[in-house]
Amino acid sequence: MDGKIERILAYLIATIFLVVGVVCYAAFPNKAPEEPIRLMLQSSAGKILFDHKEHSSEAGYDLSCTDCHHNMEEDETPSSCGECHEPESEDPIKRSEAFHLQCKGCHDDSGSGPVECSECHVM
């Protein structure tokens, strides 16, 4: 290929790809679905990957929404845990305590699921 043709081709590729890239970024922003699939919970003891879909779906553990979202009214969209349970609060109990009670409590009761720190927390 001639150098000039190569350069023109490169300008063409750069321009087209720039337009496609910008349009794709603008038109398809990363949006979380209404019902989460997985959640990455951040904590000072390491992040925790929580598979929401596996817990709620029929093919998974088939839990009902109210099993975890305890203050939920009928036909109401569940609010996220962190909306009430803030990282540093007394009333209601703080976020880490709520998660430990809810997650570990259920795992203990059902005799399945992780209960050791390193089985959930990842640094």
Binding site: G3, F28, I37, R38, K53
Partner: protein
């Protein structure tokens, strides 16, 4: 492009075989298509956004540097586009635009142009950029955190992360066949093993990359992983798992083989590939990072000039 014959001098006129830097770059991009295509199929438009934006940004940085440094315009050789594409292949599909913009800046400006441009870079520019991004914004490049909103019908856990954090029991669901077919989360163009192998073999057969580096790298990983696996099968994963996960295959075919940062003689190539392979598994098994390919290849980029001191004996020397 590579011949086992030693250098043979002859008189002019010479014949040009028609090959050029541009044809090499475009062939590399062509070879990457199967893996990239699979990535776009799996992750959709966001993956296309990262790839196209990365290629165009890399070319623009190259153009800006050409103009700023008053050098001939070199984006026509396609090297910047290939760097942009390979960098995008390593990134998760949800990478924000500003990380792509920064990453391509790091690759083209810091990794390549400040050393003098094509052929002068001591490190693979893609790896320089990726290593800096990996250390700077690790949450954006953590595949488990980045791909939370995807459900592709297989186990949505980054295999090497699962192994590192939760041990060998956590990787029981991954089969070699599934991993080869791309049933794992990872970089846009780094998770479909079969696509990478097809592209890599094409590059080897066309002579654009050296098989010595590719195979010694893969053998280095296989043997080291096998030794670990034999020493404690309950703790260390089998060698096939290491070969088919993370950046192993993209590293073997597209990263370790970069011209300017890899050796040219036979023994140095074998040492370079094997060393990077061994270090990859060492970092994965006993190091702090989940995947070791990026840092292992970078380390051996540093060792490259030293390794290339091992040369065939000069004719007549030692008689």
């Amino acid at each position: 492009m590579h011949s086992q014959k030693l250098f043979i001098g002859s008189h002019a006129p010479y014949f040009h075989n028609g090959n050029s830097v541009a044809s090499k770059s475009y062939n590399i991009m062509f070879a990457a298509l199967p893996a990239v295509g699979m990535g776009i199929y799996q992750y959709g438009i966001p993956a296309l956004a990262v790839i196209t934006f990365s290629i165009s940004c890399a070319m623009l940085w190259e153009l800006i540097m050409n103009i700023a440094m008053k050098r001939p315009i070199s984006i026509g050789d396609g090297d910047a586009a290939a760097i942009g594409l390979i960098l995008a292949m390593l990134l998760p599909a949800t990478t924000p635009w500003w990380i792509v913009l920064t990453g391509t800046f790091l690759a083209i400006v810091i990794g390549k142009q400040i050393f003098g441009g094509l052929g002068c870079n001591p490190f693979n520019p893609v790896l320089v950029a990726f290593a800096i991004l990996m250390l700077s914004w690790k949450n954006y490049l953590d595949f488990d955190a980045a791909l939370l909103n995807y459900d592709l019908g297989f186990k949505m856990l980054y295999p090497l992360g699962a192994l590192k954090h939760f041990g060998i029991n956590a990787i029981g669901d991954f089969t070699s066949q599934g991993l080869l077919m791309g049933q794992q989360i990872g970089g846009i163009g780094a998770s479909c093993g079969l696509g990478l192998i097809i592209g890599g073999l094409y590059l080897i057969l066309r002579g654009y990359i050296r098989w010595e580096i590719v195979f010694s790298f893969l053998i280095g990983i296989f043997v080291t992983a096998l030794l670990y696996n034999i020493s404690d099968p309950d703790k260390y994963a089998a060698p096939m798992f290491h070969l088919l996960t993370g950046y192993t295959l993209i590293g073997a075919f597209f990263l370790a083989t970069e011209d300017s940062s890899s050796p040219v003689n036979l023994v140095p190539m074998l040492l370079y590939g094997a060393g990077a392979g061994i270090f990859t598994v060492l970092i994965r098994n006993i190091g702090a990072f989940v995947d070791g390919v990026v840092l292992a290849v970078l380390i051996f980029n540093v060792a490259n000039p030293l390794l290339d001191k091992i040369r065939p004996k000069a004719l007549g020397k030692g008689i």
